[in-house]
């Protein structure tokens, strides 16, 4: 693990968290302490509450029990110490915005008042453009950029507030392999250089397997936390799902086979 920015205590602390939506318990008794520089992958089928967990950390989803703290204080809505990288939604051509403006929204997009970008803010945007390697297309209309290029800019946007914690919701979805590496590499660099822990929600752990410290695996009503070697094992997932599940390691990739049909797993993960 990388330089500890938390002085030993956790940066993100989840205690006894429980959430039920529509009468169905997604998770309960969830305990987790995330330390500086840690990379946590959140895995699980659709509907197991991965995104709800992110929303709870963002203060947008009230818990039924327990609490979530960032640096020892309860999380609240709109906390700019958290950087958020959303699912890749392609920005349409014809959006009046250049690449650097997308990053600029992270710098001053939340601020009311006359829309004037100060010299200092422009300098900060330049730094962020360089930090995510977007110099080549920073002045192109953002709608003309590829999904991978847009996603790099979104990482830049999330880094704008010099975050204490990075939350990523399926940030690699529908990116090609090269851009998957590029974007996950940016997140990896941030947590190594600045000790910013990363919570990374994904249906497929393989693109980030090399950087994951721990996995939170959510399944109907239960969960497991541990290193990839501890969690991604046939007997562990079989116990979690209550039906025989096989974890196959092949050429540095992990394939989970035999998941219950109704969990609607992504084929990539289903094997």
């Amino acid at each position: 693990m990388s330089p500890s920015a938390d002085g030993g205590a956790g940066i993100l602390t989840i205690r006894g968290a429980a959430l039920a939506l529509g009468g169905r318990t997604l998770w309960s008794g969830l305990d987790l302490v995330l330390r500086g520089g840690e990379f946590l992958a959140v895995l699980g089928a659709n509907g197991t509450g991965k995104t709800s967990l992110l929303r709870a950390i963002l203060g947008q989803q009230r818990l039924d029990a327990g609490g979530i703290e960032l640096d020892g204080r309860a999380v609240r809505r709109g906390d700019r110490r958290i950087g958020y990288v959303p699912q890749q939604k392609l920005i349409q051509p014809g959006t009046p915005m250049r690449g650097r403006d997308l990053i600029g929204l992270g710098v001053n997009g939340h601020r009311f008042g006359p829309p004037i970008t100060t010299r200092g803010e422009r300098g900060r945007i330049d730094e962020l453009v360089a930090a995510v390697g977007a110099e080549r297309y920073a002045d192109e209309p953002v709608g003309n950029l590829s999904g991978g290029e847009q996603q790099r800019l979104r990482v830049g946007q999330a880094l704008a507030g010099d975050p204490r914690l990075l939350l990523c919701d399926e940030p690699l979805i529908s990116l090609d392999l090269q851009h998957q590496r590029g974007v996950s590499g940016l997140l990896d660099a941030r947590r190594r250089d600045h000790g910013t822990p990363v919570v990374f929600v994904t249906h497929d752990v393989n693109p980030v397997l090399g950087m994951v410290d721990r996995i939170l695996y959510l399944a109907a009503g239960g969960y497991r936390i541990g290193t990839p070697d501890e969690v991604l094992r046939s007997e562990v997932l079989t116990g979690l799902y209550g039906t025989p599940v096989e974890v196959i390691r092949s050429g540095g990739r992990i394939i989970v086979a035999g998941l219950p049909q109704h969990t609607d797993h992504h084929p990539e993960h289903d094997g």
Binding site: L58, P86, T95, L105, H110, P114
Partner: protein, 283 residues
């Protein structure tokens, strides 16, 4: 009617100076609406609200027609109708599909109500159709002052919420995570939209508001993707359409709105051609 007669009905510049003085306030109101309409149009398109504009304008028409029937202030009636529509759409239609179905329901209801009120109204018919197709020359000075005031208010608020509104329009989830009050901002935007639609209904008529609230921004987006140039061009296009339309129309004996809508449409066509050529050169 022969060609010369037609021309004279459409364009006539006799006594132009005197006419110009008479309609001076209308020109100012048109200019302000053109500019503010061009600016808010950029957000209307980013937030996919063109259909909402149409829905609001029909309810605004109903409100104005109701006010005409009751003999109260028509601008006030128009405002009541469009703000009610804007708030209903804003509160019930946060998702695009819900929104479109609500608008689809509201629109004929509003238009039908308006037509009923007009049918019951015993006054001159010129006033009646003015609400549907524009009547700026018939609006008196105190009311013009009100329209200009409302437009300037919308302009000011729009500038103050510019950045958070841009953020929210592009990516509401991330904006909310960054502390942008998404819900209030969306509702606030609907109120601004209601206000500017009420003004537009008075000036170019309920059926034609899109020519000043949507077309200029759509044209600007054809030729630029710059966050500065698009709003500036859109405001310019709105201004040219509104003021140009009024200036061309006042000499003839025809309504003003067709001049405004035609100029606005020609600008859009020109921008499409220009935009297509630009893309071909680039690729």
């Amino acid at each position: 009617m022969n060609g010369a007669d037609l021309w004279n009905r459409m364009f006539s510049f006799e006594d132009y100076g005197a006419l110009l003085q008479l309609v001076q306030n209308s020109i100012i109101a048109g200019a302000v609406l053109g500019i503010v309409g061009g600016l808010i149009g950029v957000f209307i398109l980013q937030r996919d609200m063109a259909f909402a504009v149409h829905g609001i304008s029909e309810l605004s028409f109903a409100g104005a027609a109701g006010a005409l029937l009751l003999g109260v202030n028509v601008v006030a009636g128009s405002l009541v109708g469009s703000l009610a529509a804007a708030l209903i759409i804003g509160l019930l239609g946060s998702r695009a599909r819900d929104r479109n179905s609500i608008i689809g329901v509201l629109m004929p209801a509003g238009l039908g109500l308006g037509i009923l009120f007009l049918a019951l109204y015993p006054g001159r018919s010129g006033n009646q159709f003015g609400l549907l197709t524009g009547q700026i020359i018939a609006v008196d000075s105190p009311q013009l002052g009100l329209l200009i005031g409302i437009s300037l208010l919308v302009l000011l608020v729009l500038l103050l919420v510019w950045r958070p509104l841009t953020f929210d329009s592009l990516d509401a989830d991330v904006a909310a995570a960054r502390g942008v009050p998404s819900r209030w901002l969306s509702l606030g935007f609907m109120v601004l939209l209601g206000l500017i639609v009420a003004v537009s209904v008075q000036i170019i008529g309920a059926l034609l508001v899109m020519a000043l609230l949507v077309t200029p921004a759509a044209a600007a987006l054809r030729v630029s993707a710059s966050p500065v140039l698009v709003p500036v061009l859109s405001m310019l296009f709105g201004f040219v359409s509104a003021v140009g339309g009024i200036l061309l129309a006042i000499g003839g004996s025809l309504p003003i709105s067709p001049y405004i809508t035609t100029i606005s449409f020609l600008i859009y066509l020109g921008c499409r051609v220009l935009g297509a050529r630009r893309n071909r050169v680039r690729s």
